[in-house]
Symmetry: C3
Subunit: 355 residues, 3 copies
């Protein structure tokens, strides 16, 4: 939480923004529109908040390049959302990790820890592990035998990396995550479930982020794979032999059962479940709590259990709300038709009520 | 699990109960009706268990004040459920924590640990953290830089409190919970998801309880807030910038997505999901697995995905069970009507089958 | 990940298989059909993969006893799935744990650790705990006061076993699991939720497996019990006073609320929720995300929320897909009937539209 002051001129240059206002004015922090004070800079990245921007007390605003009719100092940016990220990084640079192995950490004699890596207090690095340059292991991390961690990866406290797990570069693994626990594989022998040894591994590619207390199981054979750039939220379960494609987003409490394949750029909202051996195409977007089985074609937008096209499910949801009424209407139709038939001197058409 | 013996007279006084029986009789423990023995006291807090009470071997019973027709020694209480809590606390006082910092804990030089606090074996307290009076940190806890923990709070093993998290007084945080991990915030720049720095915090007010392996993310800006007296079960996810109102109950595996607001006294049953930016009014009660979006008005009882009034959903559920039959009945009606129209010398009314 | 070479003759003997091929041929590993090379043995346990078996480059195949028409060396087995487990154990024997207490572990003076047990680096064993023969505690494990762990049980890093938890023999507890946290029990006193002391325990019988970051709460009174041979996946929640019968399978993210009873051989797919005080009979199989309340009779196959017989739910799901169409058809019927009645010189039958 380091804070520094910047002049608007410095910020305009750093963010490649066009400044309307005094380049010598200093701001000391970033804050949302409603809480920013005169010595802070705020931002308008969503046009719905124009009114809040107009009434904000912020000393300056980061805005889209074509914004009109806003008072005060403006930093006009072509990509304001990206500029906001840069702005936040300027004001909140990552805390420097003291390179080196904390004296209370326990590191196996044959583990290789790059001299620029940091190993935090009471962390354990087992035999044959390889910790790359600039890696930061926080306190109380467990790195199992033969684990490999690539450059500049950050591992938060209480993470467990089981034997042989391979983690790429610039990966972030949040507290309590478990990578490489045994896949859930058993075979019933007539009297008991016998454990199928899970002899595969886990591969996390570059730039992946893994949420707190998320679990990613090792494969039975081969590898469970999370492709590059994919972001996984908290308390997510990834079963054995799953492959999650690049640049996907898995929200909290999603579960993906064994041997399923997710494509590139897939977005699963919270609590979605994917059955085993399912195939989810590139760019699929699934609404919260969706239950996915079988195959989902690329680009589909799905919702519900079992998953349906979201637009179809919305119609069904509306119709369900009318279902009790519909039952009454059908009953009424049956009575009317019966009466009508009776009036016509008939006991009713052949075929009866169909049940 | 400390146990002591009490006379019924002592218990009647401590619980402000009226005693029917021998005040000198000693009981040495509390047990349910079906397992209590003659040297134990049991309890009848739910009238459905009257028969079990009558046949119980318990040496005494804690009962509602107006209970009639039960044999044996009775402790009559106006609020028997509350009296049971007091009774259990008498027989099971919390184990005294040895004040002081265990010699194997790692505490930063500038952290402030109250002399009456206990820091367990192999716990880590980082720079600038403040541990209040009577706090108990169990073994293997991680307290990040600048964390503040209020008086008499208990933190179980393997909890992670990231930098700057503020925890109130008399809070209980169960094993493996993670407070203050980064919120799940990314912005796609055309080729990759860029991380939006999560520079806010987490505030846990007084008397909150947080379940095992639950995760509560830090805010993007400002704070994620859990208001006083709220109880959260295991494996719950609370996203960034969420506010949970006072005295709410969130059962296991509930997920609340970013920026949602829950009112006071909200009750969410197990596996409920709340979408981002939702607003749940005071006193809302949601059944298991409910999926909540948008706004739910105060006092509503809801169920289902998407959430509906519970009474409406129950009718829909019944109607759904008749849906296959309903399809057959509509088909029959269409045939009958067609036949009737044909008999009347007509090819059918204008408008056809409507599809 | 120890690997050794075996001759096919040695394997045939060890697996009680009939060998078609050269008994002197050596294989050095086990791999799936599509990735196995000439120096590896593969397996055909599912007849759907016959084509893959035919085109596999594997040096030998483990197959069902009656397999015909496959080229190359074959190991014919009566129970190929079980033989595969044996085969994997031959090639991947568990890494030997160095018996003894790591010098960095913290073990209470009065804890009893069997001399053949291993206690890993930075693990904590509290007062009165009993660690049986051949037990392996990995690094950073927490064993609370009075915990008992039976012979040959394996406990992975960051597991928390709260006070008094009893674990049987040959149990596997994966990383980050929490056993014995307080059950979620509170009583509202008119102004706040007061905690009901949870004074019971947890009993894990022999041969149980518990997944990563799974939580099993202690009972209010008595014990939460997991019966022998049951396998529980990751991120599962088991509430207080639950009993799970023997040889059951609970997939990832299942939640079982307090005081529920599951029978023997129950199978719950991922994300299933069981309400409190439910009773699930022996052999029940529940599909993913099912919501179970009340009582489910033995042998039932159920799905959906609320749970229904799976076959019935499948019909409902199909019918739901036709619900918007059904609404239109009923509207059309009403119009046709009205027109018909009008043509017959009538304002419509008594009773109107039934609503």
């Amino acid at each position: 939480m380091v804070r520094a002051g910047f002049t608007l001129g410095e910020l305009a240059e750093a963010l490649q923004a066009r400044l309307d206002g005094d380049p010598a004015r200093v701001v000391v922090g970033v804050a949302p529109l409603d809480s920013a004070g005169p010595d802070e800079i705020s931002f308008l990245t969503d046009p719905r908040y124009r009114d809040a921007a107009r009434s904000s007390r912020a000393g300056a605003l980061l805005v889209p390049a074509d914004t009109a009719d806003l008072p005060g100092a403006l930093l006009r940016c072509v990509a304001p959302q990206q500029a906001l990220i840069d702005l936040l990084r300027l004001f909140h640079p990552p805390a420097p990790a003291p390179a080196g192995v904390d004296r209370t950490a326990v590191v196996a004699a044959d583990a290789r820890v790059d001299p620029t890596a940091a190993v935090g207090p009471l962390s354990v690095v087992e035999a044959g592990a390889v910790i790359g340059p600039g890696v930061r292991l926080h306190a109380l991390v467990h790195v199992g035998p033969g684990v490999e961690i690539g450059e500049a990866t950050v591992v938060y406290p209480h993470v467990s990396l089981r034997d042989g797990v391979r983690v790429g570069r610039r990966v972030v693994i949040h507290a309590g995550a478990v990578l490489g626990a045994d896949g859930f594989g058993f075979a019933f022998d007539g009297s008991a479930h016998r454990k199928i040894p899970q002899v595969g591994g886990v591969v996390i590619e570059d730039d992946v982020e893994i949420g707190a207390n998320t679990t990613i199981d090792r494969a039975t054979f081969g590898d469970t794979i999370i492709r590059r750039g994919t972001k996984i939220d908290n308390l997510v379960q990834i079963g054995h032999n799953v492959e999650v494609g690049a640049h996907s987003l898995l929200a909290a409490q999603v579960g993906v059962a064994g041997s399923s394949r997710l494509g590139r750029g897939v977005v699963l909202a919270g609590q979605v479940g994917v059955s085993h051996h399912a195939t989810v195409g590139d760019g699929v977007v699934a609404g919260g709590q969706t239950g996915i089985r079988g195959e989902v074609e690329a680009g589909a937008r799905i919702w519900g259990t079992p998953a349906r096209p979201a637009s179809e499910l919305k119609r069904i949801v509306v119709a369900e709300g009318r279902l009790p009424e519909l039952l009454r209407r059908v009953r009424a139709l049956e009575q009317q038709l019966e009466q009508l038939a009776a009036r016509l001197g008939d006991a009713g058409p052949a075929g009866g009520r169909g049940d």
